[in-house]
Each structure stands twice: as C-alpha cells, then as structure tokens.
C-alpha cells in the first residue's frame, strides 16, 4: 500500500501514474459493464460498444453470460475477478448478463449480425452452434496439461466425435441433488434412498398434505428430473454410439413408474411448473421433496425459514438401473468465429478454470469446475470446503462432492450431448412423454414407440446437416 501512495505522490497535478490510470480504467469498466449497478451512468449511451473509450487499456474483451442465481457471485465476478484479470492482461473486460432463457435468442442474433460478444456462455451444450464457433482444442489441452483430465460429464458435453473437436469449453457444471424434508419423511418412516422407497412414501406424504414434487412441464427442472430418472431405470435416449435406443423395456418401466408416482403421490400442479415453481413448492412448507440444485436450500437459509435446518441434500435415489443424475446446468463457453480477440478469449477461459477455487466458493458451491482438479486437490478439497459450511445439519453440503464425482452425467449419457439431444432437450419431449403417460393419454408402450420415431427423425435431420 505504501508504494501506491508514493506513486500517487510522485505524479504532478493533472497527470496520473500508469497504475492509477489502470485502476481507474478497471473501475470504470467494471462500473459501466456491471449489470445491476445502480445509477452507474446517467448519460444516455448512444455510441454503442465503446462506452468507455478504452484509452488506457490495450484490448477489449466482451463476455456474455447468464444472471447467476447467486447475486453475490455476479457481484464478485464483475467488480473483482474480471477487473483483476483485466489489469493483469491489459484488457478491459466487459461482462454482460442476461436471463438464461434469453441466451439462445441473443446467440442467434449475434450470429446473424456477425458481431457481438467474444465469449458467450451457454447453460447447456451448444452443439447446434458448432458451425459458428471455433474449436477450442488448444484451450482444453492447455488446462489439461496443468490440471489433468476433465470430468466425464464435461467431456461428453463438449466433444464432437464426428469432427474430433471440442466445440465448447466446459467451464462448470452444477450437480442436481434431491432436496428433502427430513422431518416430514421421518414422520412417515421413510427416506428417499431408492425410487421404490420414494413411491411408497409418496402416498403417505401426500395424504399428510406434504406431497413430493417432480415436474412434468415445459421447463428446465422437469427436463433434468426426467432425464435423470430415466437413467436410474436404465432407460437411454441413445447408446454410446449415438443410435436412438429409447424404445426399450427400461423406458416402459420408467414411464409406468412415473404414472404410478403421479397417481399415488403427485398433485396436478407439477404439470404447470416454471423453473421457480419447485423451489417455491419447497419454500411454502408444503413440498417434502424436489430435485434441484442447491438454490433450493440457499433461499430458505436466506429467508430464515423455520424448516431450513430440516432440508437435507442426498444423491438422487437409486433405481433398477442404478443411481445416476444429470447436471442441473452445464456452463459451456464458446468463442464466435467473428471474434477479433480469439487468443485473448482463450486465455480468459484457461485462467478462469485455473482459478476455479474462488469461483466455486463465491458461488456458494453452485458452480463445480469442469476439470477434476479445477479446484486443486480435486474432490477431496471440495469435500473439505463444502463440509465447512455452517448451515445445519453441519456438513450437509459435503455430499455435493460425492454427487458431482459419481452421480452426475450429461444429457445423452452414455453418448455425447450432440445437437439431436439438444433439440430433444430444448423442445421438452421427455417431460411431454412422461406427462402424457402419467395422465393416461398414451400407454407407456405407445409413448416409447412414438418417441422412437420422433427422435430418429430429429437425429437424421442433424446428421444431414453434418453436425452429428
């Protein structure tokens, strides 16, 4: 601190030292670029991207990503992390945030415009955009050199076996535990260890006025839950070679299970859910179990709800096909072909992954790094960090590392998250299938057959476009 003081003393009136300039530039960039900063600039911004003229920093890097569920994470990211990185790399980093549902529209617009941000973050593998982005093999190798292998979910979410390139950089993923009310389940003498247990408990819980909630709507949580339960029953959309294998006994078992679950233990509200609904279901005190990321436990903690200490986090219940869950979101970055800062963007990605311990902590354990050792020490360190969380029951978050390590995989497992899987995901065809069977509109066998036909058409379409 003393040396800074000296430097400022040394400058004459009206002249700023380079350090001071950089500091101000960084602050300026942060202030102007940060979303949610109140009263940041009163002037109408007519000029476009170069709001701050960047006279003092050589480069400019523009990043677009989602509005993180944890506001403090975005605050830290925008006013600390990118500022420091920018100073170290002589770059003004402009970070824009947008709602995760609006990312596809923005991406399409930037592609059409052939201009926009350099780095663009998606929350699911952006396999449909491969023709518009540069392969990121070198960035991936760079990190792998320093941190070892990436996780399986990261690999299958960003690698295209046909082109043999990584079309995205798997920065982070979010594990999807089951969040349940220990007190309510205790009352009925059960726990969600297996889906069978869940089914048995569901009617008792429902009769007690505290049903469980598994969505079957056109939204993200329903997608995640249903993809995951399918895997627990051994039902797969595609095999490791990318062929559609949905029409199977396991799929029928899964669908029949969902039907029984609905009849015995679910209420009609699950058909009309939006992404916030299952959280609200839990927050109201009514819900006794949901499948969701830890945002479901953090909000009750923040609101100091009386039952927040009774919310336990467990891995997804085991099914006849094993125990496997999906990532809640998969943070994948791409660099557009039209970017003029490709090298710098790659450096940003590499540096961010290497510094992932801070990101992991600042996001309150929401973001898990794409690489096994993204947080140095790997899952051992992660377990230690999560166990240190003070919320009761103490150590409850440590299970997250087990879930992330063993029970989290990508959509399209055991195959890759390719563009066909992406379309099936984006058009909510799996929750649709489950809902139609649950409500008796289709038999399980017919639904599986129909899905088979639908998915094969979709796969062929993307194969013809040479993206799969």
């Amino acid at each position: 601190m003393a040396e800074e003081h000296d430097e400022i003393q040394q400058t004459t009136k009206g002249e700023l030292s380079r350090r001071e300039l950089l500091k101000r530039a960084g602050l300026g960039a942060a202030v102007l670029g940060v979303s949610g900063s109140a009263g940041a600039s009163k002037a109408f911004a007519f000029a476009g991207p170069h709001r701050y003229t960047g006279r003092y920093l050589k480069n400019e890097l523009k990043i677009m990503q989602w509005v993180h569920f944890v506001p403090d994470y975005d605050k830290w990211l925008d006013s600390t992390y990118i500022v420091q990185w920018g100073q170290k790399n002589d770059t003004q980093v402009i970070m824009d945030h947008v709602n995760n549902t609006e990312l596809p529209a923005r991406a399409a617009a930037e592609i059409a415009a052939q201009s926009g941000h350099d780095l663009f973050q998606f929350l699911s593998p952006p396999s449909a955009y491969q023709n518009q982005t540069i392969p990121l093999d070198d960035a991936v190798q760079e990190v792998t050199k320093k941190r070892g292998k990436m996780t399986g979910v990261a690999y299958r979410s960003t690698y295209n076996p046909r082109t043999k390139h990584y079309f995205g950089f798997p920065d982070n993923y979010v594990p999807d535990p089951v969040v349940w009310r220990h007190d309510l389940w205790n009352d009925v003498g059960e726990s969600p260890a297996t889906w069978d247990h869940v089914l048995k408990a569901s009617s008792k819980l429902k009769n007690g006025g505290h049903p469980i909630g598994i969505g079957m709507s056109n939204e993200l949580d329903s997608n995640m839950a249903n993809f995951a339960i399918m895997l627990c029953f051994g039902s797969q959309i595609q095999n490791a070679d990318g062929q559609i294998v949905i029409n199977s006994k396991q799929t029928r078992d899964y669908l029949n299970f969902m039907k029984s679950l609905y009849q015995q233990g679910l209420t009609n509200e699950i058909f009309g859910w939006n992404p916030a609904s299952n959280n609200q279901f839990l927050i109201s005190g009514k819900g006794s179990m949901i499948l969701n990321a830890v945002s479901a436990t953090r909000t009750p903690e923040d609101l100091k709800l009386p039952f927040s200490d009774d919310l336990w986090i467990w891995p997804i219940p085991k099914g006849p096909g094993g125990r496997m869950g999906l990532e809640h979101v998969m943070g994948v970055y791409v660099i557009w072909k039209f970017s003029k800062q490709k090298q710098l963007a790659k450096k940003f990605l590499i540096d961010q992954q290497l510094a992932y311990r801070d990101h992991f902590v600042q996001s309150k354990f929401y973001n898990f790094p794409g690489w096994l050792n993204g947080v140095p020490g790997g899952f051992k360190t992660i377990r230690k960090l999560t166990a240190a969380d003070q919320h009761k029951p103490k150590g409850k978050y440590s299970i997250l590392s087990t879930i992330a390590e063993r029970y989290t995989t990508n959509a399209g497992h055991p195959g890759f998250s390719n563009a066909a899987i992406g379309e099936i995901f984006d058009t909510f065809l799996i929750p649709q299938m489950a809902a139609e069977v649950a409500q008796g509109k289709l038999s399980a066998a017919d639904a599986a057959k129909q899905a088979d036909k639908q998915f094969k058409t979709i796969l062929k379409k993307w194969k013809d476009r040479k993206l799969v």
Partner: protein, 283 residues
Amino acid sequence: MNAFAHGLKRNGPAWLIVGPFAIVLAFPFYWMVITAFKETTNLYDLTKFPFWWSGGLPQTTANVSDLFHHTDYVKWLENTAFVGVVVVAITLVLAMPAGYALARLSGRWGQGMGVGIFLTYLVPPTLLFLPLSRVVSTLHLHDSLWSLVLVYPSFTVPFATWLLMGFFKTIPQELEDAAMMDGCSRIKALTRVVFPISLPGILTVVIFSFSLVVNEFVYAITFISSSSNRMLSVGVPTELIRGDLVLWGAIMAATLIPAIPLALLYNAFLNRFIAGFTGGAFR
C-alpha cells in the same frame, strides 16, 4: 325524487355496465400493489390471507427500494421514455403525410398500397429480428438505443398510417376545398386546416405508438445487451428473475410504476380527443 336517487338513476346504469369490466380489468393491478409491499416470507406463506397485508398495513418497502437502488430501473424508465418520444415523433412525420395521401389523393392503387403497408404487420418480429440484427450491427448501432429508434417505426408507422387514414377520411373534403379556394396551396391547406382538426386522431396515434414501443420485447432484447441501456420490458424480466428465484414483489412494483402514469396520461388524452370531436368544426 331526492338528489341521491336522481344521481343513482342517472349514473347507476353506467356503473352497472362498466363497473364489472373495470373490476376484472384492474384486478391484476390491485394484486400487484398488494404483492409489491408484501414481505417475502409472507408472500410464500400459504396460510396467510392473500388479498391484504397481514398486520393491516403495507409490510415493507424493501421490494421497491431494491428496485431503485440495486438495479438500473431508473435508467430503464428513462431509456423507454426517450425511445418512445423519438419514435412517436418519427411515426407522426412519416405517417401523417402518408395517411393523408391514402385518404384523399390516391385511387385504386392507393388502396392497394394501404393494404400492402398493413400486411407488413403480419411478419412476426421473431422472424425479422435476425436479419435486422445484421443491419443494426453493420450500422454500428449494436447495444445502442438508436438501433431501436431506427427499427421501431417499422411497426408503428403502418398502424399509424391506417389510423390516420381513417381519421382523415372523416374530415369533409369541403373544408380543404374551401381553404384552397381562398388561395391556399394544397400543402398549406394540409398544414393549416386539416392537421389541426385531426388533432384527436393524432393524439390517438401518439397514445398507441407509444404503447407499442413500451410493449415491444423481441428487438429490445436482441439489439441491446448491457444493463444500463435496456428498455423496461426487457430489464425487468432479465434482472429480477435470477435462475429459479423470481423476485415477485420487485417485479410487481416495476410494472405498477410505469403503468399508472401511462394510464393517467392516456386517460387525459382521451378526454381531449373526444372533446375535439364533439366541439370543433362540426356544429
């Protein structure tokens, strides 16, 4: 009959007819007021009476203050107001002459053109926004409010042209002819006689064009990326919905704050515009 009964007889039927509609249409706004001042834990509590605040009085101003202090809400309001005013001005400049021409001067092909202008409405912005974003970036207007100022008239002008055409048609030709016989050129007749009389129509166009600007969503979200440049209809859903946490109270407050003044403004305009018709040249 005493004064009260007399008043009831005169006003009663109107209230009976309009009242139910007003209640149904305005109920969501009542609901927004209640929600905006409710505490979050109260909001999520299923046992509480929802139509009022438990405890009798508004519970918290935290939602509103969060809106003003932790987001760029004020900027969004300013941006929307700015774009609205400029786009309305452009719309009037383009649509008034066009509406007049279609109403008076053109024959059959004019009708065709009128219909053609209207048909542009049928092309959804969810399709147009892609090529348009290329136009916007070529003109270096990306992330600038001027991109919206450029593009919005594309849907306000057809609508305004049609409305004005309808209004100009109701003005008798004799008025202009009289003015021209007195020595005015056609252009002078336009500006000195026709436009002033069609003030009510112009006001209607102002109201509707402004509301179209405020409502627009697709272009606003694709052309603008930074928070401080956002429009109201985009900023609120984008920043007050954080993943799976929806800040209902703040969103309701954010909706009420522009809606009430705008409704008051439209209401005031309506008075002028109806007075303009019943007073004025038709005696």
